[in-house]
């Protein structure tokens, strides 16, 4: 492959960009909503130290989607079922971080193995196989895209309604419980919302790369701000820019969407780290 091939792969479609955009319009919408919600929920994922849980859930979500393909059911339904089962198991069994991490460590390879088994048995289009692991939003059909958007909106509303008790529980579960916050239900509800987000993300960015939309934007936001409003808004904005930017760039050529999303999200993180480190230095020399 020479430079002009690479150029073609990346920007070959630039001439017909308008038409392509019209075709992938719904994918952009789905990416936009997931970017926002992923960034938001990521703030809680970071505070509750659950990045590993996100990864564990996504592998079982992949297994669910693969099972659905095999038996001829809708893959989105399959990934949601897999996600929710994983989220519920982790939520019910892993109250403490150590227990939780060992449960996830046990579940994850099992889920991934199951998924690979189901995919090997699956006779359908082979394009679908890889897309569950590494994502290809533009191959998702419109009816499914609609569902992905609806699920993201449900999660958004759920998060906003339990925002304050969830924040309290994430910071200080003992004090929250003392104040009558139903911490067990809050934790479980959070896991289920997280499961739904992960199920959506699996279809957009792929099971292996979910963290780029659920953890990286929030981690970046926490580097540059501590405001209770600023951090979620920044995280949502970073998620939005990564997802939408990634899709818009990818459809110009023939390359998959995921590397664009992960790269944008990573660059945002690097920039935020730089800004945060610089400000820390200034604060310290002023003190």
């Amino acid at each position: 492959m020479n430079w002009s091939d690479i150029w073609n792969a990346m920007f070959g479609g630039a001439a017909d960009y308008g038409e392509i955009l019209a075709l992938v319009q719904n994918s952009v919408w789905a990416g936009a909503v997931l970017g926002l919600v992923g960034g938001l929920i990521g703030v809680f994922v970071m505070q509750r130290d659950m990045a590993f849980a996100v990864h564990g859930i996504s592998e079982l979500s992949f297994a669910g989607a693969a099972a659905a393909l095999l038996v001829g059911v809708d893959a989105v339904t399959g990934s949601i079922v897999g996600s929710l089962i994983a989220a519920a198991v982790i939520g019910l069994l892993g109250a403490r971080a150590r227990e939780r991490n060992s449960i996830i460590g046990v579940l994850m390879p099992f889920g991934l193995g199951l998924g690979i088994l189901f995919l090997s048995l699956y006779q359908g289009r082979s394009a679908n196989r890889f897309s569950l692991l590494t994502g290809q939003i533009v191959t998702v059909q419109n009816a499914q895209l609609g569902w992905l958007i609806v699920i993201s909106v449900i999660v958004l509303i759920g998060l906003l309604l339990m925002w304050r008790p969830l924040r309290f529980d994430s910071l200080d579960p003992q004090a929250a419980a003392a104040r009558g916050v139903p911490v067990r239900w809050i934790s479980l509800a959070f896991m289920l919302l997280l499961g739904l987000v992960v199920a959506v993300a699996v279809h957009i960015i792929g099971a292996l790369l979910v963290l780029a939309l659920v953890v990286t934007p929030a981690a970046a936001a926490m580097r540059v701000s501590a405001g209770p409003v600023a951090v979620p808004l920044l995280a949502a904005a970073f998620g939005f820019v990564s997802a939408v930017g990634g899709i818009l760039l990818a459809v110009m050529g023939e390359l998959p969407v995921s590397p664009y999303i992960t790269t944008i999200s990573f660059v945002i993180y690097l920039v935020c780290r730089g800004i945060g480190a610089r400000r820390d230095r200034v604060t310290r020399s002023a003190a």
Partner: protein, 273 residues
Amino acid sequence: MESEQTVAPLVIAGAALRRGDRVLWEDLDLVVEPGELIAVLGPSGSGKTTMLRAILGLDRLSAGRITVLGEPVRRAGNRRVGYIPQQRPLPRDTSMRARDLVQLGVDGHRFGLPIPRRGERARVDALLADAEASAFADRPVGLLSGGEQQRLRVAQALADDPKLLLADEPLTSLDLANQEAVVRMIDRHRRTHAAGVLLVTHDINPVLDKVDRILYLARGRFSLGRPRDVLRADVLSDLYGADVFVRHAGGRLVVVGAPDAEATHHHHEDEHA
């Protein structure tokens, strides 16, 4: 029906706590009067934290009844009770400012869209002022010292003007100035609001001149009374079943010879996650 003024903030009757066949304490009767500060002392593993959690409805007693502000304990958690947990440093990157930590005491239990209500900001400002925290109200909590964080936790616990205050080792690992500040906040609150206070501590000295009574738990038994009646060599030796000495040195009081933990290997059982 008794008026709000005369209802005892806390009544514990015939309470017992057992772990398997081991008795942590039993036949415990305790009435905390309005404005009274009771310190709870005892080796680790003697069920001090569990007692606080039972009062909050988060743990169950093996026997007995607890009445909080005139009502029996039924549900988990109680918004009419203030609770101050032990100081633990918050992560540096916690996305909260000092005022947000205090704000959780005002609205942290509330479901629904997170829209601030009228008057809440003024309330939080007043709480911050009482905690001598106005100067760092808008700084990220993760960058504050442990003592500053702990003063904010006290402010959070006092947000609803509770008539009963429970504090679980609130002074541990604080420097002297912050210990005094926390004690001052607790003491001022119980005087101005006629609130009962149950304060678990392993060091009596920072609160000695504020304490009305002491509840000393050890070896499945307890001793309850005024400090000078409980913190005596004969009383504590009897309680521990060993020779314990009480020494006064430089205005401080030191208990010598008391085992640090219950003899069995359950050192951390009253430290809930």
